[in-house]
Symmetry: C2
Subunit: 202 residues, 2 copies
DNA sequence: GTCTATAGCCGGATAGAC
DNA sequence: GTCTATCCGGCTATAGAC
């Protein structure tokens, strides 16, 4: 597991962009973290925007890998969606300190009117499509898209307020509420299935 | 309705901080918008942080005024909460362009580790307390705080995704879902009241 | 109160030695 | 590939004329 300088730059930039924001993160910050000189940067990247592009590409890849892992680890769609929800708990500390990496990057790039805005939003797109697929597998064929966006929005709201208020209890109650919401969807759909089966009998 | 230069600076800075973010907004931007020279700034404010402080103070005041208005305009707590939800529709265009003014400022200041972070979060606090009061008036005495935070979080999530995806339909469906959620709370509580009244009779 | 001029700093980016 | 030295521009902030 040895990384090229380019890879090291991308990894450190990823972290620093998250913690300080893209604009506030300077080449000096990243150079210091990687342990190279500022000048050496330009051998690997032409501009700061190029680094951002590489970071977004990296995030797209790691996100895809994470979603694949979740899919591999749990055969049931409910458990997979639970993995997504559980992320709010496992990343609670960093979320309270810096917010959601995806949400905060997207809103910063929107304000900067930055060309990479849509590519950053594509990370959200990955979650969205993956969740949609899970809901469809749950039998929510008609409204899988709405459910996916709803869950994504709920998690974003939790991250934003967790960051603003730094309140652990809030995250826990909201995550519990999300799990209850997911459960209610399953219950509703099995109710419907039961009714349908009943109708078939009569 | 004539404003002092200081007031003009605060108003323009408020808008520009919202649209470009605090860090990316420069004195030149604000000076150009107000129509004064950059140097003149320092007669009114010592530092950029002082302007931010004034902007937050201004936002706290306008938010309080807006909440008072909502309270004055509708005698019922449900309608008041509806006014809050409706904000997502009336501000839809700017939200899709720049996100929520409060949420985006809070997350930027968190990343900058800025001293004004907690004061910015206090704007959220105003909404939170106001909503809490409305829910208490609705008879939700036990969980008014949770409901207020929940509604605040939902609206933040909607704003973040609306900004990322620029999808009008999403905002409409989520607002409809929020209204349904509010209605379900009222229904549940009147159900309970009915049961209690029934119990009194038997 | 408002201006012009400018200091001083730090950012991104370049040139060229090693 | 990595370094040092340096340019250039924009930023916040200051000084002083009007």
């Amino acid at each position: 597991m040895t990384f090229s300088t380019r890879e090291l730059i991308v990894r450190e930039a990823d972290q620093i962009f998250y913690e300080k924001g893209f604009e506030a993160a300077s080449f000096s910050d990243i150079a210091a973290a990687v342990g190279i000189s500022r000048g050496n940067f330009y051998y690997h990247f032409k501009t700061k925007d190029d680094i951002l592009d590489a970071v977004i590409t990296h995030r797209l890849a790691t996100t895809r890998a994470m979603l694949d892992d979740w899919a591999r680890q749990s055969p049931s769609a409910v458990d997979r969606i639970m993995s997504f929800i559980q992320m709010l708990i496992s990343n609670q500390t960093t979320i309270m300190a810096f917010g959601c990496p995806v949400g905060t990057l997207c809103s910063e790039l929107a304000k900067l009117d930055h060309a990479a805005r849509t590519r950053a939003a594509a990370i959200f797109g990955l979650f969205r499509e993956w969740l949609e697929e899970q809901f469809r597998e749950l039998g929510q064929t008609g409204n899988a898209s709405e459910l996916a966006l709803h869950l994504l929005a709920r998690s974003q709201g939790i991250a934003t307020l967790a960051n603003a208020f730094r309140d652990e209890d809030f995250v826990c109650t909201e995550v519990a509420a999300l799990k209850a919401w997911l459960q209610s969807i399953i219950d509703d759909s099995s109710d419907k299935n039961r009714k349908e089966r009943k109708n078939e009998c009569t």
